[in-house]
Point group: C2
Chain length 324, copies 2
């Protein structure tokens, strides 16, 4: 991160399927101002960008004006760092390839870069959070899906095409018995370790066993990962079994990721990560049992240090410091 007394702030814009959140951030990761709009209200990309700009500019003015902003970072699904585009994002209103970074650069006169949300989370963690000072780490985001951002030799891994780091879609259960994933394939990590994966595990265990559980009080198709967490905290054996199962699968996958880039740390972010020891213990156990001998005891397993509410804007904003 290159701080600059002349340009002490960056802007972060996080584009989600429901909300778009934007904020002004300083070098210590303090969010000075924040605003948001509903992403789905703007079916035309021009309307959308204009509305973000007209909401964002007053915040920029209130903090010293455009001249104080080093850059704008955008985190967006299917975001491509190299081209500054969003490409065929299924949960956003705009189809095809959208040259979003250029649109902001032109309208605001501030250099703008863009990447996918999990990569933004990783850069945020490196700039303001648990990965400060680290040159080699892997960020895993556990939400509705499972995302990842990989940092090697101090640089984000974008790959040849800008789309590297889809570790939610490595196959953890091969063959026809693998769970169907949202990507259309079978057996992906995401199908087991996302919030929906956890809920599905709950249903499968409740349907295939007679074990007593508080979770039986909830209609099977309405159980969420939050319900599982709350039951586990109260000592529910089935809920604990669900965490064991989820953590074991994730830990086995992480052991393979370690063989790839031998990171200093693996950092977990998102709802599931906040379940603490319930999920960290089975993950750590599975790593220890599955990792190749030369890696044993080396990679730290850490929880994100960014607050949930701030993480998306902080992550996106951190990209702004990287602009050369």
């Amino acid at each position: 991160m290159v701080t600059n007394m002349e340009k002490p702030y960056v802007v972060g814009i996080d584009i989600g399927g429901t909300n778009t959140v934007f904020g002004i951030v300083d070098a210590r990761g303090t969010i000075l101002s924040v605003g948001s709009i509903k992403t789905q209200d703007y079916l035309e990309i021009d309307d959308y960008v204009n509305t973000v700009c007209s909401n964002l500019l007053p915040l920029i003015e209130a903090n010293g004006g455009v001249d104080k902003i080093k850059g704008i970072g955008i985190g967006a699904p299917n975001g491509n760092f190299y081209s500054g585009t969003i490409e065929f994002a299924p949960n956003l209103p705009w189809k095809g390839i959208i040259h979003l970074a250029d649109m902001f650069t032109e309208r605001l006169g501030i250099p703008t870069v863009l990447t996918n949300d999990a990569n933004a989370a990783a850069i945020g963690e490196m700039t303001y959070g648990a990965a400060r000072g680290m040159k080699n780490f892997i960020m895993i985001t556990l939400g509705t899906g499972v995302g990842s951002g990989i940092v090697i030799n101090g640089e984000m891994v974008y790959g040849h095409d800008g789309f590297a780091g889809e570790l939610g879609h490595v196959i953890v259960r091969r063959g026809n018995n693998g769970r169907i994933c949202g990507c259309g394939r079978k057996g992906c990590l995401e199908a087991y370790c996302s919030a929906t994966g956890v809920a599905r595990t709950a249903r499968e265990i409740l349907e295939t066993t007679q074990a007593e559980s508080k979770l039986r009080e909830i209609p099977a198709d309405q159980i969420t990962s939050k319900d599982v967490y709350e039951a586990a905290v109260m000592g529910d054996a089935v809920a604990n079994q669900i965490f064991e199962f989820t953590g074991t699968i994730l830990g086995e996958a992480l052991a393979d990721f370690i063989a790839f880039s031998s990171p200093e740390a693996i950092i977990l972010f998102g709802g599931l990560a906040k379940s603490g020891d319930l999920i960290f213990k089975p993950i750590q156990k599975a790593i220890d049992e599955n990792v190749l001998a030369i890696y044993k005891g080396k990679a730290k397993l850490l929880m994100s240090e960014l607050k949930d509410a701030d993480a998306a804007v902080l992550g996106a904003s951190a990209l702004g410091w990287e602009i050369k």
Copy 2:
């Protein structure tokens, strides 16, 4: 690669369990002189280094002397780039941690760096072979074991500890039915796609089916991957099935590797890679069928362009150009 008219050559030293080969190499990858000694003849590391030096120095002198050498690169099993050490290499005579790079630097007065053999192969391919000009690729070496070297953003991936890139030891068959691997774990890629893995597949198919095959003329415990290749070339159905099986497992694993670093190419090196379409077709099919949609048709599958006999010395030598 920084070429230098004053220092136009590098030295490559490849340390194998049986032989140590060393040579003088120019910027185009021509080996000007080459020599070798038997690794196992030297139980003391000092004797070994002295013998390599006394055999290597005349070659250096014949090519203009020490002043013409930019650096020495060493490829060795369990080699650590960061520390220049060989650490607990099971197939070498010297136990524990050996500070090999320093020993050569001191004796010859030439800067020396070291990495493992698969990483050296990747750097060799980037410097002289199929990966020239590539910034993102993965090298897979298919030999007695399965090794790998990963290049991202134009840099070798060594990881936090110097040992990154052990893709032969990701788990491709989970659970107790996975084949035992030389590393002591079960289900590693290496247990299926190394030369010994191929031979084991042959035995398994011959033992569990009644299919006719030329391979039945060979005692089951003596079948080698070369026998399988020769039978397949003659149209043997079982031999072809073995290649299908091996290529499918490797292709499935490569599809996962692509999700990690989205490389421009995956380059295969070693005996199995030389089987051509017999192995490339099932690998490519498995990649196409298993890779996430956004990566489809992107990563090229290539064969190494370095001659087998030269590759080890060339790979090690290429490290010499990287010295700063």
